[in-house]
Amino acid sequence: MDNKIRQLFPILQNKINNKPLIYLDNAATTQKPRSVVEAIEHFYFNDNANIHRGIYKLSQRATNAYEKSRKNIAEFINAKYTHEIIFVRNTTEAINLVAQSYGYKNFKPGDEIIISTMEHHSNIVPWQLICKKTGAKLQVINIHENGELDFNHYEKLINNRTKIVAIAHASNTLGTVNPIKKIIAAAHAHNIPVLIDGAQASGHIQIDVQNLDCDFYAFSAHKMYGPTGIGILYGKEALLNSMPPYQGGGDMIKKVTFAETEYADLPQKFEAGTPNIADVVGFGATIDFIKSVGIDVIAKHEKELLKYATAAFSNVKGLKIIGTAPEKTSIISFILDKIHPHDVATILDTEGIAVRAGHHCTMPLMEFYNIPGTTRASFGLYNTKEEIDILIEALTKVRKIFSR
């Protein structure tokens, strides 16, 4: 990846503590290219109006821009129909939507929901909430020490009480890419629907929902170089049609009387109230940006960085990588001697390096590894090998401070 890409991201010119910013927290959120920010600005300055209701031209323009993004996203993940794309705030809201709508309708006492040990809290807690309401219970797939899913255990967990499987495409802590096609096929053999938490995959891996045959797929724009506060839930048309609305309000109705309300068709049924219009437009520009670079080009660059960093990390004394599955996104979690991740991150910050430290919203996973947390470096398309070299040097400095 050349310098031209970096120039598309104005924030990368920033200095932190008088050092050039080295941003390695891309799994938390990515930086935004100029084109995405400009698309949002352009919308506010030229096309802003509320959507779907206005009789006037400007509202029509806003509606067109909003719906164009939906179409763009549908094509990007190869959805069969554009109305299978529901706009939500983020991946978390998408999972809550499915849990509260699909789950509330379908789960009965004793039913089971399968998740895995490596799930983010956002793919645990929404299911616990609906379990409390319905009497269903969670079943958790084991993982191997290297962070790979224990597929045999998964197959053993499937039974006639299983009502849904909800699993991450890629782990935000370990980087493990799960064999979701196989996971989906195994569930479908028992007519069980599958939700994929794609938050850590969408900007890194080509997604084809028809090829995967997943029933639900969720991701956020902000982890793929887009704005915060906007994400999507993809759901198969028939499933979404069978589900009750998640929230009620304007825009999701056909007819309202005090006695009864007739709901709108997809996708409006699940989009109550004025949505985050400008960021939906920004999301569309995000897809354009990724297409202009090429998701395969991004994936190749990140794979190279991961390989380079993994080799470099293994030369740092006292460093242990947590998560060494053969298939990984560009995430490296590690522990360094007995130094707490927060101390590592504070010292790295003084070198201008932004990394994540802590449990990464995967507390059960930390318990599995019996560690309080890790330091995590996660790479994006603008990161370079030179930055990894600086990180390695800084880690040596961390060790020095703690070995006095």
């Binding site: 927060h342 802590g358 309080p372 703690f402």
Partner: protein, 148 residues
């Protein structure tokens, strides 16, 4: 870099790697847990109190160098103080950590090495977790303790 040197002074590194009073206290008159859910720092504080005097204080837990050193130095500073005196130290420490300067530095003694934390606002909660847990013990606060 100077800020960093201030933050990770030798005495802080020493206390984080070899914390004082780091053990459970059997038959403690008070036991309290503190927890910062965002960062995962955990502390269990054991206090023996007799007619308003803290006769013994120990802690256990998992945390960063700052929270561990803070807890270790706190137990040293608080032992054999009255509840009233301990609360005064709490107030002074709080002031030091958030402003960099205590009103009565003489009450803090060795604790003043933690003054460097003020330059790292994200880490203030690390240094104060043991103290909020202590305050909960002394004021008999039943709530879950966190400094986040």
């Amino acid at each position: 870099m100077n800020d960093l040197r201030d933050l990770y002074q030798q005495i802080i590194i020493d206390h984080s790697q070899h914390p004082h009073n780091f053990c459970p206290l059997e038959q403690a008159s008070h036991k309290k847990e503190g927890f910062n859910p965002l960062c995962g720092d955990k502390i269990t504080l054991y206090v023996n109190e007799k007619s308003g005097l803290i006769t013994d204080i120990c802690f256990q837990g998992a945390g960063c160098a700052i929270s561990t050193a803070s807890a270790s130095l706190m137990t040293d500073a608080i032992k054999n103080k009255t509840i009233e005196e301990a609360l005064e130290v709490f107030t002074e420490f709080q002031k030091l950590i958030t402003t960099g300067k205590a009103d009565h530095p003489e009450k803090l003694g060795k604790l003043s090495v933690l003054a460097g934390v003020v330059e790292f606002p994200m880490r203030i909660k690390c240094a104060t977790l043991p103290w909020h847990t202590l305050k909960a013990v002394l004021t008999k606060d039943q709530n879950i303790i966190s400094s986040e």
